[in-house]
């Protein structure tokens, strides 16, 4: 169905697109129109809005292609998670409270990609303010998993993951606070990267948990995530938590032999709580790498079991502060102007926030209350120290860790929606990386008995993304 005028938009990568442009197979405008057609016919609800100016942007890109001003990203279409701001475009964060909000500036990460010539197709669906693991918490309705529409795509960047899997875009941006790029990438069978904390500017990304949030790339190949991160990464004076150190050359590294990397297998990630198919698929990958001559060591991350608990203290505390800004005064949903200020706040917030947001805001209010701050929040900060030390110790022995991305493949819509703790557990393998500030990559490696994608996770120390790309690219080509 995607083969129109010899244009095949299935699983496109940056290199394939540039080769097609160069060969004159199609123009950026033609490719963009093809994606728009696919988005209009989409039944997964992956997009919230389309960029009204996308055809103009595509025409501009066509003019640049072939000139010395073109970059490897010129004319490459991209979709942006709706929690990330793009000037003059609707940016809802998946929330009713911002359902009509038009962004007045562009996120630094997006601006850098636009400056490199990328064409923004539109904004993708997500859990409200990136809070969820199934994309069922969006005011704009759930996203369906393109591999089985009775199942969730994962979350919170579910729209971005589904859009790539359904061939509605070759590239998308997501955000990852506890696994929100990696878990949906795993459920939808695509590749996603959570950069080290501070590697990408958070300016223009709606804050959820400021000490954990990162914007990251999602794509059909490891190399494409490297292309995108290379351009997005780097210090931004508008984000005081962005790192000063220049990032390495990720693309150059792809050409090098990854076999000098020592791979660690953390035993805590292979408990009996994992779906059998997932466990077997990852173990098969480990065997394959062994037979290829990689040095593989079993290691232990003894505080793994506490990471998710610490996360569910740190995150709600920061959420309750960050979401205090949504009061309907400067932007967003409004109330009757005759109400008193207190009534106004309560009306706007009670009608504007969904159930999960309310749950986390109240949890945060509780955790930060006098008397509980020391008992909960302070302790969670101490556990963060232990988890960081755990990783620091392991990364003295090995270069990279290899784990399953999620305990199971995509679950059914509605399965976990009334049981928050069960829902939270689907992030159990991804959340430690956020707490410790390190980087992670998820790529598809197999299918389960229901033909659903199984994802594998690679983790590397802070600012060692090149190791993820190097080994990830090798594994991708090994299949």
């Amino acid at each position: 169905m995607f083969l129109i005028n010899n244009m095949d938009i299935k699983k496109l990568t940056i290199d394939k697109i540039q080769a097609a442009y160069k060969a004159g197979d199609y123009s950026c405008l033609e490719l963009t129109k093809e994606y728009l057609k696919a988005i209009h016919a989409d039944e997964t609800n992956a997009f919230i809005s389309i960029n009204d100016h996308v055809l103009d942007e595509a025409k501009q890109a066509d003019q640049l292609l072939g000139t010395d001003q073109a970059t490897p990203l010129t004319g490459v279409p991209i979709a942006v998670k709706d929690i990330i701001l793009v000037k003059d475009q609707k940016s809802t964060g998946g929330s009713k409270i911002l359902s009509n909000y038009i962004a007045s500036y562009t996120a630094t990460a997006v601006q850098r990609l636009k400056d490199a010539g990328m064409v923004i197709l539109g904004k993708t669906n997500c859990d409200e303010f990136a809070m969820g693991s199934s994309n069922e918490n969006s005011h704009f309705g759930p996203v369906l998993n393109p591999h089985d529409v009775s199942r969730v795509p994962g979350g919170s960047s579910g729209g971005s993951a589904a859009a790539i899997a359904a061939n509605l875009t070759p590239i998308a941006l997501g955000t990852d606070t506890g696994g929100s790029i990696r878990q949906p990438a795993s459920f939808c069978g695509i590749t996603g990267v959570k950069p080290s904390y501070g590697r990408v500017s958070r300016y223009g990304s709606m804050s959820m948990t400021s000490s954990l949030d990162q914007i990251g790339p999602m794509a059909n190949s490891v190399k494409d995530t490297a292309y995108i991160l290379q351009v997005m990464a780097g210090f931004d004076p508008k984000d005081a938590t962005s790192l000063k150190t220049k990032s390495n050359d990720y693309l150059n590294i792809l050409e090098q032999d990854p076999k000098k990397l020592i791979i660690g297998i953390p035993k805590e990630y292979f408990s009996d709580n994992i779906q059998v198919d997932t466990k077997q698929a990852i173990e098969q990958q480990i065997e394959k790498l062994k037979s290829q001559g990689f040095e593989i060591k079993e290691v232990s991350l003894s505080y793994t079991d506490y990471a998710l608990a610490a996360y569910y203290l740190l995150m709600p505390a920061e959420v309750s502060s960050n979401l205090a800004r949504y009061d309907g005064l400067l932007y967003g949903l409004e109330a009757n102007k005759d109400l008193s200020l207190d009534e106004w706040y309560k009306t706007v917030r009670s009608t504007g926030f969904g159930a999960e947001s309310k749950r986390r805001i109240m949890l945060g209010a509780y955790i930060l209350s006098a008397g509980y701050y020391d008992a909960y929040y302070k302790k969670a900060q101490k556990i963060r120290t232990l988890i960081k030390a755990d990783f620091a110790k392991v990364f003295k022995e090995v270069d990279i860790l290899l784990t399953p991305a999620t305990p199971s493949t995509a679950f059914k819509l509605g399965d976990k929606v009334n049981d928050p703790v069960q829902m939270y557990l689907s992030d159990v393998f991804t959340v430690s990386a956020n707490v410790a500030g390190i980087c992670g990559l998820v790529l598809p490696v197999a299918r389960d008995a229901n033909d659903l994608p199984i994802g594998m996770q690679l983790l590397a120390d802070s600012q060692q993304e090149e190791k993820l790309f190097s080994l990830g690219n090798y594994i991708e080509n090994l299949k």
């Binding site: 038009i102 000063k244 506490y306 932007y331 102007k337 008193s340 749950r359 101490k382 703790v421």
Partner: protein, 96 residues
């Protein structure tokens, strides 16, 4: 730690949220479940451990920018609920 409806109502009030009787009941159960889950942190002896504010240690970040007054950007407030001469008009703080 079991949260009752009265405590949830108090939290909702702190968070400027209004909840129905049915919501109070649901949240009381769900918040109790989540607090039960995070309770496991109390198994650890954390007495001598220092706290970490983020994953990075701070040596690779810049110090805070100087505090300088800048012209405000009227563009960012154009979607405010009510503007008068580029000032935000808020609802009454005290009851009339």
């Amino acid at each position: 730690m079991k949260l009752d409806k009265k405590q949830v109502k108090h939290l909702a009030n702190l968070a400027k949220l209004e909840l129905s009787a049915e919501e109070l009941e649901i949240y009381a159960d769900q918040l109790t479940d989540v607090l039960g889950f995070v309770e496991k942190i109390n198994k650890l002896d954390l007495e001598k451990i220092k706290e970490s504010l983020t994953g990075v240690d701070g040596s690779d970040t810049v110090p805070p920018r100087p505090d300088q007054a800048e012209e405000s950007n009227p563009e960012v407030i154009q979607q405010a609920c009510q503007l008068e001469n580029n000032y935000l008009v808020a609802p009454n703080v005290f009851d009339k």
